[in-house]
């Protein structure tokens, strides 16, 4: 398990502030995408985020557009997981399909502080800090399989190889 810092945000962090619409139809390499992550919400984030950092937010994270870059730019920026009270449906799918772990937790936003160090224990389904452990529900099995494979591309490739 790798330690990362908590970046805390509020409710309804939408896809336009995660990855602005003006870039969505411009092909970009992962590094360039990562350089625009959360650009219209927290302009400091892209330059300061470190591998294994964790985003903790409120309700309806990722609402808005179906743009997949909203999930992939977070992954490319090194974000280990996004923890929120709830996720918008398409963002939730996109995150899993990109191999970015998404964790639904009612408690995390209240119990974790901005800047705090956390570890994600996906075996025990717990968020771990120096002083506490916050349990979360695992994903449905069929969905977890996609995440475990590293995302939908490796998962589907496997399926095609197996003759599907």
């Amino acid at each position: 398990m790798k330690k990362g810092r908590v970046w805390k945000y509020g409710d309804s962090v939408n896809t336009d502030v995660i990855f602005p619409g003006k870039y969505t139809y411009t092909p970009m390499e992962p590094d360039e995408m990562a350089s625009h992550v959360l650009e219209d919400l927290d302009p400091e984030f892209a330059s300061q985020v470190k591998p294994h950092d964790v985003i903790v937010a409120g309700r309806n994270f990722g609402c808005g557009s179906s743009r997949e870059q909203a999930a992939s730019c977070l992954k490319y920026a090194g974000v280990q997981a996004v923890i929120a009270r709830s996720f918008a449906r398409i963002f939730f799918r996109n995150a899993i399909n990109q191999g970015l772990p998404v964790v639904v937790s009612e408690k995390a936003q209240d119990q974790l502080n901005d800047g705090e160090k956390v570890e994600m224990d996906f075996n025990k389904n717990e968020i771990v800090t120096k002083s506490k452990r916050i349990a979360f529900n695992p994903l449905p099995e069929s969905v977890q399989k996609i995440l475990d494979a590293g995302g939908l591309i490796p998962y589907t490739k496997q399926k095609i190889m197996n003759g599907k």
Binding site: S12, N14, V17, T24, C63, F87, V143, L152, I153, I160
Partner: protein
């Protein structure tokens, strides 16, 4: 216990008896994408397959940045056209057709009981014609191209019961803004939203489209109006296929029922920077703005352009405002031309753009400078969506945008009809 519309369709498609909460693997009837097809093609190539599994099911409409505004966008379009040719995809619509959701419905792909997935969040729109349609991401669109299947969770259904009659100057856009404002942008997260009740038959196809389109702004997986005879007759002109509507059972299990007497609704405005930040127009009247936008997949059909023209006829757009009009499709544009609506709009000082997404997502054709404010008929007002992150977007009905554009400030359209 009976089943909802969504439970019935996903049961039929999966061959299993499923209920809300179950996860199914299904083969959709159609898969829609637009300019993002270039990105989907790149993902598709990662699967190592030469051919898409079922070319008949793939619908591609170029609409987001059309005509191409830069070399990069031009390259995107070129790669899409080449792929369409190489894969012999029969359902490709180039830049001269209009917005994907409108074109999809005009071409007779959106039929009652069909299962549609689309790489665009407003794919929810086809429930206006009784289809089950949900937005998905690019990688999963590529995966559907390759495998002809996708996993979906069977949604719970939120029922919205509409009764009464809209007052003059109040439109379907005001109804859906009111509902979203009352219940929040995540009220219908993961859910199907079924619009029903005694007022439903008074919503024609175009009006149903507005509500199903904006169901996405409540977080919905799909929106749905039970098809009535008018919808069935409308579809008979578009397709030779048999039309077999699917309806929720009377004893189906609904997550909740929200009831609205629409005769009590007044014009509404969604304020920055979320679609659920909705106020009655009287609370924002007098606010000056720089750019009006009439059109988009939400409000770019004939009846919307007509509503705007009825306000603008014989009047002039205020000198401090610029007004952009984007018909939803070539077909709607032609109807508006035939009826003299475009002439009225041009005479009033509006700028007519080609059918497409236009400035709605801030990529071209009228982006906002820092400090500017737009009043738009689109479906989203997120920070920075139409340009600068220091600009603001207010959302309203076409009549509200038209009346306000004459005054140069937000005003109640009921005083200008």
């Amino acid at each position: 216990m009976g089943k909802t519309f969504s439970e019935k369709i996903l049961s039929a498609k999966s061959g299993e008896d499923v209920r809300a909460g179950d996860i199914v693997t299904v083969s959709p009837d159609f898969i829609l994408s637009h300019d993002n097809s270039a990105a989907i093609i790149k993902k598709f190539k990662l699967f190592g397959k030469d051919r898409v599994k079922n070319p008949q099911k793939i619908v591609i409409v170029l609409d987001h940045v059309t005509p191409a505004s830069s070399e990069k966008y031009a390259q995107n379009h070129k790669e899409i056209r080449e792929f369409v040719k190489q894969q012999s995809l029969p359902h490709f619509f180039d830049i001269n057709n209009g917005i994907c959701h409108q074109v999809f419905t005009e071409q007779g792909f959106a039929l009652p009981g069909k299962l549609v997935v689309g790489a665009d969040s407003h794919t929810t729109s086809y429930g206006s014609l009784g289809a089950f349609s949900a937005g998905i991401g690019r990688t999963e669109a590529a995966s559907v191209w390759a495998t002809d299947e996708i996993w979906l969770k069977v949604p719970e259904t939120l029922k919205i019961d509409l009764k009464g009659e809209l007052a003059k100057g109040v439109y379907p856009k005001d109804v859906i803004l009111k509902i979203i404002g009352d219940h929040g942008a995540d009220r219908a997260n993961y859910k199907a939203v079924e619009f029903t009740g005694p007022a439903a038959p008074r919503f024609n196809f175009s009006s149903r489209f507005v509500l199903c389109n904006m169901a996405a702004e409540m977080g919905a997986k799909n929106g749905y109006f039970p098809p009535d005879q008018a919808v069935v007759d409308h579809l008979k002109n578009l397709t030779k296929e048999g039309i077999d509507p699917v309806y929720s059972d009377k004893d189906a299990c609904f997550e909740a029922v929200l009831s609205y007497d629409i005769s009590e609704i007044e014009p509404q405005v969604a304020c920055p920077h979320t679609v659920d930040h909705v106020k009655p127009i009287r609370e924002v009247e007098g606010l000056v703005f720089n750019q009006g936008l009439i059109g988009t997949c939400t409000n770019g059909r004939l009846q919307d352009l007509k509503a705007a023209a009825s306000v603008l006829k014989g009047k002039k757009v205020h000198p401090s405002v610029r007004v952009l009009v984007v018909p939803a499709s070539r077909s709607e544009y032609l109807k508006a031309l035939d009826q003299g609506i475009i002439k009225v709009l041009v005479e009033a000082g509006c700028v007519i753009l080609n059918p497409g997404c236009g400035p709605c997502l801030g990529a071209h054709q009228g982006v906002l400078a820092p400090g500017e404010r737009a009043l738009s008929t689109a479906n989203r007002n997120f920070k920075g969506r139409m340009g600068s992150r220091d600009s603001e977007i207010y959302l309203a009905s076409p009549a509200t945008v038209a009346a306000s554009s004459v005054q140069g400030k937000i005003c109640d359209p009921r005083n200008h009809l």
